[in-house]
């Protein structure tokens, strides 16, 4: 592959800086550990190939956009529901180990949150993850999910409403 290696150090830095965001988004989209791995690998290679055309503005949104495109392609190819169902229980356990002060309560909260987010349609879930976990701006989210800002705003609101409703329903049980 004729690749200008002078670009590589920059790209490596970019990739390293945003690997966590990339993986987190992939994981929340495809809801499967192995598939999220594949998605990020593929996305990084694609990003490297497109890197010469990257103008340097907002690397994270640019990279996440590629991650999302790859994830969507994979999900269309496979069966989204079948894959998604596999993740929630094991994931909640996996991430519960992330802090020494993590108490049972927190673990329960996380598990509950997973279940709640899992019930949301993908296009609402991705907006919530990008806004609340990755803390992207509306403009950045619009770029990543390839939708107008107005659409992002209404998806965010619908997602938040559904999340709150689902949480209330859980509490009521």
């Amino acid at each position: 592959m004729p690749m200008d290696s002078s670009l590589l150090p920059d790209f490596r830095e970019l990739a390293a800086a945003h690997l966590e965001s990339a993986y987190n988004l992939a994981r929340w989209l495809v809801r499967d550990r192995a598939l999220a791995d594949d998605v990020v690998q593929d996305a990084m290679l694609r990003a490297l190939r497109y890197y010469h055309g990257f103008r340097g503005e907002n690397a994270r949104a640019w990279l996440l956009q590629i991650v999302r495109n790859v994830a969507m392609t994979r999900l269309k190819r496979g069966n989204e529901q079948a894959v998604g169902a596999a993740d929630s229980a094991s994931a909640a356990v996996e991430i519960a180990h992330d802090g020494p002060e993590t108490a049972l309560m927190r673990q329960d909260e996380q598990r509950l949150l997973h279940d709640l987010l899992d019930t949301l349609p993908m296009e609402l879930r991705e907006c919530l993850v990008l806004r609340e976990i990755e803390e992207l701006s509306y403009k950045e989210i619009a770029r990543v999910v390839d939708a107008p800002i107005g659409t992002v705003m209404s998806r965010l609101w619908r997602g938040r409403k559904l999340l709150v409703q689902a949480a209330r329903a859980t509490e009521a049980v």
Binding site: M1, S5, L45, D98, K161
Partner: protein, 253 residues
């Protein structure tokens, strides 16, 4: 709550909540919310959703993925590095390039057989490229050598041996043709767990380069030997031991 019951300022309240509203509009909105019960409800829901999501975790990146990204990005520019190496050999201090044992092995090969590095680099680039786009990985998709073998007829001017290694843990995935050193070569693709082994085959008479010793290049392992007049090159990110096992199983058939 149904959408049609919501105040038309709802999304503005949310934008303010997300810090997306300019100060002048935000001030006006505060006045509105103070007298709009619907928007007060919206504010409550926004707060509640953020509380719920406050502990939403970021998934930790698996160590294997970090390793893959590092290795793959390093493998992307081998051709250029190799060519530079050859040019530099006549005049420049070489130690600067020898940052790792792997690099020094590659260097020895470069100096002894000037035509080899391009082939090595092309094999590596081809293998990496094939992993990027799955459509490039395989032209004929089959685990049956009776399907894959005839597929090569008319595409390459030799009959590549297509071996069944599924019993050894290396199921055949398919084959493709590729171009290495300006020559069309046959490639067999085997799966090894989550790894891919590409087996490149071309006739010895093609003289694409001398045989290097088994080597490790930027996280990929390469093994090559001559068998029945064909040069067989295996490349994979499998461990050196596993790739050696692959070679043994292949040659045992």
């Amino acid at each position: 709550m149904n959408d049609h019951l919501e105040c038309e300022q709802t999304l503005l309240v949310q934008a303010d909540f997300d810090g997306e509203l300019e100060a002048s509009r935000a001030a006006a909105l505060v006045e509105h919310v103070a007298q709009c019960p619907q928007c007060q409800l919206v504010s409550e829901q926004l707060e509640r959703s953020r509380t719920l999501l406050r502990h939403a975790p970021r998934y930790p990146v698996p160590q294997e993925l970090r390793g893959f990204v590092d290795r793959t990005l390093q493998a992307q520019a081998p051709a250029k590095q190799s060519r530079t190496l050859v040019r530099a050999a006549g005049r420049a201090p070489l130690l600067g390039w020898m940052t790792a044992l792997a690099a020094s092995v590659a260097l020895a090969v470069v100096l002894l057989t000037p035509r080899t590095p391009d082939v090595e680099a092309q094999l590596l680039a081809s293998h990496v490229r094939s992993l990027q786009l799955e459509s490039h990985l395989i032209d004929v998709e089959s685990s049956d050598h009776h399907t894959v073998r005839p597929w090569f007829a008319g595409k390459v001017d030799f009959a590549p041996p297509v071996k069944e290694l599924a019993g050894d843990g290396f199921p055949l995935e398919g084959g493709r043709i590729d171009v290495i050193g300006g020559r069309t070569v046959a490639v067999l693709v085997y799966r090894a767990g989550r790894h891919v082994v590409s087996v490149y085959l071309w006739p010895e008479r093609a003289e694409l380069g001398d045989l290097p010793r088994p080597q490790r290049d930027e996280g990929f392992n390469l093994r090559r030997w001559v068998e029945d007049g064909l040069v067989v090159s295996c490349i994979s990110d499998l461990s050196a031991d596993e790739l050696e096992r692959f070679e043994h199983r292949w040659r045992a058939q």
